[in-house]
Assembly symmetry: C2
Homo-oligomer: 665 residues x 2
């Protein structure tokens, strides 16, 4: 009834990070550390040793790094992930007999006890280690054994432990007795992405609106001219709604009218027509060749193109003829259109993921993404992934990333929290959030504390959008230009990844279709819009400055350091982000009320930022270039939303003498 | 690359209870419920169905009970455990296509839409169900199919859904399409004990002190006379320190003196002598036959005997000769005695759990417990389990409980929290706690909230001891008789299981060996003590009353309902326990200061107790029999520690008219 070997006395439990008992990987980007914590303990009072073991998926051998004891049986170790792909990690721990012996011996010597037999126990341990050591170390160990044996016959001199700790202890540490070592029962995973998974600035734009006349459909060629406009604002991802042929059957007209006029262009999300489906380009935008050129031109300007993956078909989609079994059929032999009873969407056929031909279907959908990867696309914004099978996404993303680890997936799921988290767990690199609807201090503080400071951050990377073609929030509708500025500063500093839908955003477009709706009036979803990009009141300069601040301040390129600080005015929000080494600390104060001037006293934990409470420090507003000398944790701020509705301060500590010119860094 | 079947759209995660990802079982007693919660959701907006599946270990078939949706994708189900032993449980969930269809149809009808084709979809679903149904139900379903088909040709009348919901919905619910059902990936365990695991009152006593002269060693026969004394105080477990032969080599004298005098009796925890070891009875206590008789007599008085399991040996223990390999050997060929450097315990040899002959050792140690089970012992108090291999305990307890599921194990481990919790997880039925050292309001509130309201309660059952032969706390030493009363009330009402070490406790023995020590002066660990049980100032009457209150009030027989309530005096502690149905609510108020009268206003959440805020209710002090009429949540309490330092109120709601005599229950 007893197992073959059960003398493993060390327990390893409470391992972090570990998502759902190891069911899902944690996420990192290249160059980041994985800090692993665990409870490690054994019966009795022996000293223990523990290592984190890690390897890149595919490598045969584990690397090991020693962990250190923090307190209360909690241990910590860390390793760095240096390449894209999957890493595995686990833990191993054992009783460190030599360390136990040494600590006990020290106590006995201190108490003046006779220890000759105890020293001989050490000799035995050293002799055992010889058999595990390489030749050179084995010789050294043998010498130590002899030395100890000699010691056992005399009184230990006080210098004995110093010599032993310097030489013998590290040597013994290298050749531990791991016969009864405990290996943690799970191998855990890390998915390592390229840095853009963590830090990215997105701009969404309808390519067909890259035109000077509403009657003239924009083309990829015309879009090329728009690239420098976007790139000069400092964005690095340009996301396009679907670029495929648009269905004609039941096409929606302007402002989502049930019947389209002949000249209406339809919604890009109504995918599929005689000209092709998910692997085709809308002929009015250009050819596949044009698209590839556009991708290349964008790249020259530092812009990556993100494509929309919307797995749904119009009645005109080639799949409907080629694979009628991929759709649900109604008893009258028509195909089931999309519905959210009592609403009907007769221009859209949802794909039936439970079809008996599911394997061919799933493979084809995956191939759609691979097709665009081959055209140079490395980022996908996935439309409503929560209305497709979770298992499909887990499988498809894993398959694709195995071959193309650089590909990133943004989940556009505005649904219940557990569903959004599940999508992130199963593989999406970034996720849309509820940011657009979090406007009060309490809402923002609570939501971003959950996203950035809880275990959620191990798998969920937020991407904060100020607006989208579907979301013109009440706050933006009501608050005028200051509301846009506030939401821009919040998105760009709360989120290492954020996005705007333009030019609607920078032109402060805030006309809703009707009162109580978040839909834009004359939405680009259903028509071509001509924008005056050069309007004097455009926010493009400010956006450019904000994005430059993001690039120059590494504190803003990650979310994990986000901390909110007290400020005695409910309309003012105060938070910081910092690099681990505190070389870059950014303090943001925002006025959430777009209508009134607000002022208040904020309070900073200066000691934690390495700032001397007794000496002045500088806060440098990177938006206005104003610099203020502050002293102590409590300081006064006043923000007029008619000017700029927030400060993005860099906190500069005094580093040199007062005679130097630039004495804050 | 695709698995054989991956069309399982439902996700099951966040299951509770689940200890360490299912690595350990949760604990229940016979008759209790296991309430299972989980996040259950799928893509899209379909209705779902979920069941808890459970079976007794050994049974081949699962039973299933439907779960219900709470909110925010959280589902709940429950099953009852009706016998001792192990149960397994897991979850299964699927898309409920019929319910989805019915809900959608209802919305369409409400919107006045034409639904003939939709009704036919229902017909298809009903026809599919026929193939899964038994004959009788199949006939009914077929009839419903015909009826629906007829309906599809006319307008649905308003009564249609009522009829369908009453008859067809439950029928379809019985025969769901579970082809793509998701089975939760783990099978979880419940260990079901007899009720005493949850509710028990312990009395510890040295059998050798059952004597009228310190020179005369008490015997089991004399102990029989003490049984009614203990039983009349209302205890149901009588725990004896080890009853085995005591070693002579390096025996400790009175008050733990290094050298024993010839007449010194030694410590019962120094186990093993020429007369035998762990399976023998100390000859001065009597024979094995005497012990068995004593166990039987105790049982007649409603007392179960709990034995001490202390796996350690004196140099005289037969194991030392028979199995020298079960002990560590020193280089001078002596056996390694116990030590905690620089302290040495040369009268004790610890057992070496890593011995190469570990399998024989472990088997023998398990057999020691089985031996005593065969003598009628069903409860073990295990001495310092944390200094023996965790894996040994997990294996031994599991093996023993497989054959003797009624056996209970109490872990006497006063060590770091994670170690104590691990022992509970791996199988100990009850655990000693830090209770003895938790004396202030903040300490008690924090500690018992952790034990009784967090997930810890799923595996850790606290047993609260006021004192032990090793623990005479500072509080008891300093506080006089009121301190004893306070600690008694706290132990007996905070803990469904508690214990005292007597007669030291009821006689308020509070002389420590020296200042700063928790050791008793003239400790029974090293000598026979003659106690005057009939002293007028004994607490035995009060203890008897407290134990009777525990028996009569089921609220006190479980820990999970414990809640602390605000009271505006730092020296007063206020808490309640209640049965699930609120038929029994006990309110305890204790004065933690043994020296001064304290008073304060407490505040109760009356609505949650089903008490009308506008009408008076009665609190009936079960200790003093005083009754008070209270009104509203805030009430005044004053406690004089010179009288009784706490109230144990039963809260009685008004249930009949005012003319009735007994109108509170």
């Amino acid at each position: 009834m007893l197992p073959e070997e059960d003398r493993k006395r060390v327990i390893i439990e409470g391992v972090k990070p570990e998502v759902d008992g190891g069911r899902f990987p944690v996420k990192r980007v290249v160059g980041e550390k994985v800090i692993v914590e665990a409870d490690v303990f054994a019966d009795s009072h022996d000293s223990l040793a523990a290592v984190v073991k890690f390897r890149k998926d595919g490598d045969l051998r584990w690397s090991e790094l020693f962990m250190k004891h923090l307190a209360n049986d909690r241990w910590e170790g860390a390793f760095q992930v240096t390449g894209m792909g999957r890493y595995l990690y686990t833990l191993e721990a054992w009783v460190d007999r030599f360390k136990t012996w040494r600590d006990d011996l020290k106590k006995k010597v201190a108490a003046g006890q006779e220890v000759s037999v105890d020293v001989l126990i050490g000799v035995e341990l050293v002799k055992e280690a010889v058999s595990r050591a390489n030749q050179a170390d084995g010789r050294k160990l043998t010498e130590w054994g002899v030395r100890l044996e000699r010691q056992s016959r005399s009184t230990l001199d006080p210098g004995f432990f110093t010599g032993m700790d310097d030489e013998l202890l590290p040597l013994m540490h290298k050749y531990p007795d791991r016969r009864f070592a405990t290996l943690y029962e799970r191998e855990l995973e890390v998915v390592v992405d390229r840095p853009k998974a963590r830090f990215s600035s997105w701009y969404e734009m309808f390519p067909r609106s890259c035109t000077s006349q509403a009657e003239k459909h924009g083309t990829f060629k015309e879009c090329e001219a728009r690239l420098s406009y976007v790139s000069r604002m400092g964005f690095d991802v340009l996301y396009l709604p679907p670029i495929h042929p648009i269905g004609r059957t039941n096409r929606k007209g302007k402002n989502n009218q049930p019947a389209a006029l002949p000249e209406d262009v339809g919604s890009p999300w109504a995918i599929g027509a005689a000209e092709g489906g998910h692997k085709s380009v809308h002929p009015q935008l250009g050819t596949l060749e044009d698209f590839r050129k556009f991708v290349a031109k964008a790249q020259e300007q530092g812009l990556e193109i993100a494509l929309d993956i919307a797995f749904q078909c119009t009645p005109d989609h080639p799949y409907v003829q080629e694979h009628p079994e991929w759709f649900r059929r109604r008893p009258d032999n028509t195909i089931q259109y999309a519905e959210n009873p009592p609403k009907k969407y007769e221009d859209i056929y949802p794909i039936h993921f439970e079809t008996d031909n599911w394997q061919e279907l799933w493979t084809e959908l995956k191939e759609v993404m691979v097709f665009w990867i081959r055209q140079g696309v490395k980022i996908f914004r996935v439309d409503n992934p929560h209305t497709k099978s979770f298992r499909f996404w887990e499988w498809a993303i894993q398959e694709i990333k195995r071959e193309y680890p650089e590909v990133l997936f943004l989940a556009e799921a505005f649904t219940r929290p557990k569903v959004m988290y599940r999508l992130a767990k199963l593989g999406f690199s970034q996720s849309y959030t509820y940011f657009a609807w979090r406007n009060t201090k309490w809402e923002i503080t609570r939501y971003f504390t959950e996203l950035c400071r809880s275990d959620v951050r191990e798998f969920f990377r937020p991407n904060l959008w100020t607006n989208t073609p579907d979301i013109l929030t009440e706050y933006l509708q009501m608050g005028g230009r200051p509301a846009f500025v506030t939401r821009l500063i919040l998105a760009a500093t709360l989120g290492a990844s954020y996005g705007i839908y333009g030019p609607a955003f920078e032109l402060c477009e805030n006309q809703a279709k009707e009162f109580g709706s978040e839909e834009y009036l004359d939405s680009e979803k259903y028509q071509i819009r001509v924008w005056d990009m050069d309007r004097g009141d455009s926010l493009r300069q400010l956006i450019g400055r904000v994005n430059r601040i993001r690039k120059e301040n590494p504190a803003l390129q990650s979310d994990w350091s986000l901390r909110f600080h007290p400020i005695d005015n409910e309309q003012l929000l105060c938070y910081t982000k910092n690099t681990e080494d505190l070389s870059n600390i950014v303090l943001v104060v925002v006025n959430l009320d777009p209508h009134h001037i607000h002022s208040g006293w904020l309070e900073l934990p200066l000691a934690e930022f390495g700032v001397d409470e007794d000496r002045p420090y500088q806060v440098h507003d990177l938006l206005s270039e104003a610099r203020y000398l502050w002293n102590g944790p409590r300081n006064y701020v006043e923000i007029n939303p008619r000017e700029v509705s927030g400060h993005i301060f860099r906190l500069r500590r005094r580093v040199r003498t007062e005679r130097d010119f630039d004495y804050f860094m």
